[in-house]
């Protein structure tokens, strides 16, 4: 801290010096101006009045300019040098996700952050690159090897909690208090809610900061509009109509696919049944389910253990047995591209996925590939057709939280790390990282909107993640200040903005954000996440592919197994702690 104080003192002194210099300049300028005026008066005796006037004006201008210079000189240092800038260079390491085979640490975005941090705080930043899809495994391995970067992040809070229990994490609460003034941008972006989201109400410990999810749209249903047009059908608006569309796709495979008719997939899904049929699932959940029940039964973020979920899977099972669902979905695991290839080749009629899935990845998007492979009319559009018991097109949205940032106990640069978070949370930084370079990453529209351009994935300027979220660690979603709204639909070039806008509107229609309860840590959730999700996927796959007669047996066995290996313990502990905090009585 003393170093910082010294820094501050030095800065103040610098500012004072500059002001003094400016004052001197002002006096000199005044003298000069007066002299000039005198000379002018002497030289031009004939036009005394005019000359006097002119000279006075010149003097006035000179004084004004000098005054301005002084003002600028006085203000300038305070603007450029942060009071928290270290005197000696400090060094921190930061986790950075890699997707595919690009080298994010060599991109101009990484340079921007490194340069900015060095200039602003004298902090050298080194990025530690690791795969996006192996993220939870990597974190554990890095911690065990004592090589975890100073700033880590993951999507799973129970993971952080389990490492915190082992003494692997730093309690951030006291540091947030101490350095509150140093991190205004972080507070502005995340808000008190997100910062203290995971604070244990009993112990006050804070193991992670919840970063900000700007856009909480989740999942959409997509359908091939060009196929519907070909068949003379309207966009579906109910479950029954949607099913009729799938049946029509199946029965008209020859017409729609010609010699590839055998490749017809009316409805595609993946091994991740919960996510990939989420809208379907949620449409069977009673609309009047309370926030409390939603919390207690809602450990699974795919909503597969809410009342009604079974009926949703039963419908999917019926579709599967009717030949409406991709037969081989269960054979392909996470990261396999077979399904995407089917979508790109134009064999698929409908599917549910992330609300903007077919439009992501610029020139390599499903939409772009589909147009290349099939024709300019081919398009997946979002539709709203899964009504619930109240007739609402319900979607469970994400809350305001996204990734969880934590500092491993090996971090000895806490202030520098917090300053890093503050730096990447400032609106200018986010804007620069999200929009990149004008002419390469974007063009500006007349209304100021940022129109993103497709960049080749071999180009260092390529953004491997949508809105460059791998770099904007504290912010997920477009965050361009006044231009956000106007720019949103342009974020998906070369996709038509109208198509994207419609998808977004539908994804938000009927949205419900599950409530957040501040409770002590749920111990039953520690270390079990992967096991539970693996078992969930496995039994849902079996249930969907079972014969209609076997469905109940397979599904019920699966749920029972899931509950017995940890699912029930989580529900019980959630119910218990919720009752202790709010008095809510939960009945199974």
């Amino acid at each position: 801290m003393s170093k910082l104080t010294a820094d501050l003192e030095k800065t103040k002194k610098d500012a004072a010096d500059a002001a003094k210099a400016a004052e001197e300049a002002l006096t000199a300028a005044k003298e000069e101006a007066a002299k000039a005026a005198e000379e002018a008066a002497k030289a031009a005796e004939e036009a005394v009045t005019a000359a006097k006037e002119e000279a006075a004006k010149a003097a006035e201008e000179a004084i004004k300019a000098a005054e301005e210079a002084a003002k600028a000189a006085a203000e300038k240092p305070a603007e450029e040098v942060s009071p928290y800038k270290f005197e000696e260079t400090h060094k921190i390491t930061v986790r950075l996700f890699q997707r595919g085979d690009n080298e994010p640490e060599k991109s101009p975005f990484a340079d921007y952050i490194r340069k900015g941090m060095l200039e602003k705080y004298n902090v050298e930043v080194e990025f530690v690159v690791g795969g996006r899809w192996t993220e939870p495994d990597d974190l554990g391995n890095l911690l065990a090897a004592k090589e975890a970067p100073d700033i880590c992040y993951t999507y799973s809070y129970p993971t952080i909690l389990s490492y915190a229990d082992m003494g692997g994490m730093i309690d951030l609460a006291p540091y947030i208090e101490e350095y509150k003034d140093a991190i205004p941008n972080l507070f502005n972006l995340l808000g008190e809610d997100n910062i203290y989201w995971d604070q244990d109400p009993e112990t006050g410990k804070l193991w992670a900061l919840e970063t900000r999810l700007v856009n909480n749209a989740r999942i959409n249903t997509f359908i091939r509009k060009d196929w519907l047009d070909k068949l003379g059908m309207e966009l579906p608006t109910t479950k029954a109509e949607f099913e009729a569309c799938l049946v029509a796709f199946r029965d008209n495979a020859e017409l729609l696919l010609g010699e590839d008719a055998s490749r017809m997939v009316p409805y595609s899904t993946s091994y991740d049944i919960g996510w990939r049929n989420n809208i379907l699932t949620v449409s069977f959940v009673p609309d009047d389910i309370t926030d409390e029940e939603l919390y207690i039964r809602g450990y699974d973020d795919r909503q597969q253990f809410l009342p009604g979920a079974k009926e949703a899977i039963r419908l999917l099972n019926k579709w599967y047995n009717d030949g409406l669902v991709w037969k081989d979905f269960a054979l392909y695991g996470s990261g396999d591209t077979t399904e995407d290839d089917n979508l790109k080749a134009g064999f698929v009629g409908a599917f549910q996925h992330n609300y903007d899935y077919p439009y992501r990845n610029g020139d390599d998007s499903i939409d772009a590939n589909l147009k290349r492979n099939v024709g300019p009319d081919a398009v997946f559009v979002a539709v709203d057709c899964f009504e619930n018991d109240a007739g609402v097109y319900r979607k469970y949205l994400g809350s305001t939280v996204d990734r969880k940032v934590c500092f491993p106990s090996t971090n000895t640069e806490i202030l520098a790390s917090l300053l890093y978070l503050d730096f990447i949370s400032s609106p200018e930084t986010i804007l620069a990282l999200q929009t990149g370079t004008e002419g390469i990453n974007h063009e500006r529209a007349e209304n100021g909107a940022y129109m993103m351009k497709a960049v080749d994935s071999a180009d260092p300027n390529y953004q491997a993640s949508l809105n460059n979220i791998d770099f904007t660690m504290t912010c997920n979603g477009q965050y361009l200040g006044e231009y956000t709204e106007a720019s949103f639909a342009y974020g998906y070039a070369p996709v038509e903005p109208a198509v994207v806008e419609q998808a977004y509107a539908i994804a938000m229609n009927g949205g419900r954000v599950p409530a957040h309860f501040v409770l002590p840590a749920i111990e039953a959730e520690v270390g079990i996440g992967t096991t539970l999700s693996t078992e969930r996927d496995s039994f849902l796959n079996k249930a969907v592919t079972a014969s209609v007669e076997d469905f109940d047996k397979v599904y019920d066995e699966g749920v029972e197994n899931y509950m017995s290996i940890g699912g029930e313990a989580i529900m019980d502990e959630r119910a218990e702690k919720l009752e202790a905090a709010t008095g809510y009585k939960f009945e199974k």
Partner: protein, 326 residues
């Protein structure tokens, strides 16, 4: 050339100080000890020192601190063993490991022996060599490649074999569920294992076959033994010691499990039969769970059972008049 090099090494060795016998001994065999030093160092660093970490199995789960700084686990340190045996998923993995390994043993163990006998009977030397080489090849493919090939060939709908099968039957719903039904999957798993490793496994048997004296065959032929008789009465007895040694080693591995083979071949429909102990350890220990203590306990259990089987098989082999391996 060889002797020259050996002499040079001997000359650089320090002269022994503990008497003439030792110095002569080292003089003669020092080079061999030098050769041994490298593998011994390897084993000490990568096999023996890590054994200290078996302690984790008896300590509270902590991946941050070294195990000797962590408190003992509950139940006198046996918390994780108890937890494992209470865990349904562990019991399932244990059952699957034994089932798949036994099937592998029953179907996979005789395969290279039969193949070696067949190769041995081939008359044309060149054709035999060519066939041998072709049979070795699959061994050099990783399971990841084989699993991808299997998926393209055997998938229910998009697999080549099923595409032909559907056309043959004229029924688009006809399907051979090689990978999607549990029993079929086990068959595919075992068959692919045989396909990959049987050829490679013949090497050791073929080497043993060369040591059988041709005179025995000639004598048998003189006595009027046909081909099958000669195989039965000469070749197989000649192979017996080799077979026994390999069988003992296989039995020591009964609870051990391959990792990449089940991991690459599995899918969500067959996890009930495909999740073996190595996968269980991977999921609990590395993939997000970080339960190092539990998984170390499971690993230790595997090793102990493996050693017991090894001794048991060795004991039985000796009882039946074979030499065994210990």
């Amino acid at each position: 050339m060889k002797t020259a090099r050996a002499e040079k090494t001997i000359n650089t060795a320090k002269p022994g100080r503990r008497g003439r016998a030792f110095s002569t001994y080292m003089h003669r065999y020092g080079t061999l000890y030098l050769l041994l030093a490298l593998p011994v160092t390897f084993f000490i660093i990568f096999r023996y020192i890590p054994m200290a970490y078996i302690l984790m199995a008896f300590k509270k789960n902590n991946i941050i601190l070294p195990p000797w700084q962590v408190d003992w686990a509950k139940n006198n340190g046996f918390e994780w063993f108890i937890k494992a045996f209470k865990d349904k998923l562990f019991r399932r993995a244990l059952g699957n490991t034994v089932t798949l390994n036994l099937l592998d043993l029953v179907c996979g163990f005789p395969a290279p022996i039969i193949m070696a006998l067949l190769l041995n009977e081939l008359a044309f030397k060149r054709f035999k060599k060519f066939t041998q080489t072709v049979l070795y090849l699959p061994h050099f493919l990783s399971w990841i490649i084989i699993a991808s090939l299997a998926l393209r060939l055997l998938a229910d709908n998009d697999g080549l074999i099923n595409i032909f099968y559907k056309q043959m039957k004229g029924d688009p719903n006809a399907v051979l569920p090689f990978l999607s039904k549990e029993k079929w999957w086990i068959g595919s798993y075992i068959a692919l294992g045989i396909w990959k490793e049987a050829g490679w496994g013949t090497i050791i048997y073929l080497a043993a076959l060369t040591s059988i004296s041709p005179e025995l065959y000639e004598a048998a032929a003189v006595d009027g033994a046909g081909r099958f008789r000669r195989i039965w009465h000469v070749t197989l007895p000649g192979l017996r010691p080799t077979i026994i040694v390999l069988l003992i080693m296989r039995l020591g591995y009964i609870l051990g499990s391959e990792f990449d083979r089940p991991l690459a071949l599995t899918n969500n429909l067959v996890t009930n039969v495909s999740t073996v102990l190595s996968i269980y350890i991977y999921q609990k220990g590395i993939k997000g769970g970080s339960q190092f203590s539990l998984t170390t306990a499971v690993g230790l259990f595997q090793s102990v059972v493996g050693v017991l089987f090894l001794f048991g098989a060795n004991f039985l082999a000796k009882r039946f008049g074979e030499r065994g391996i210990m």
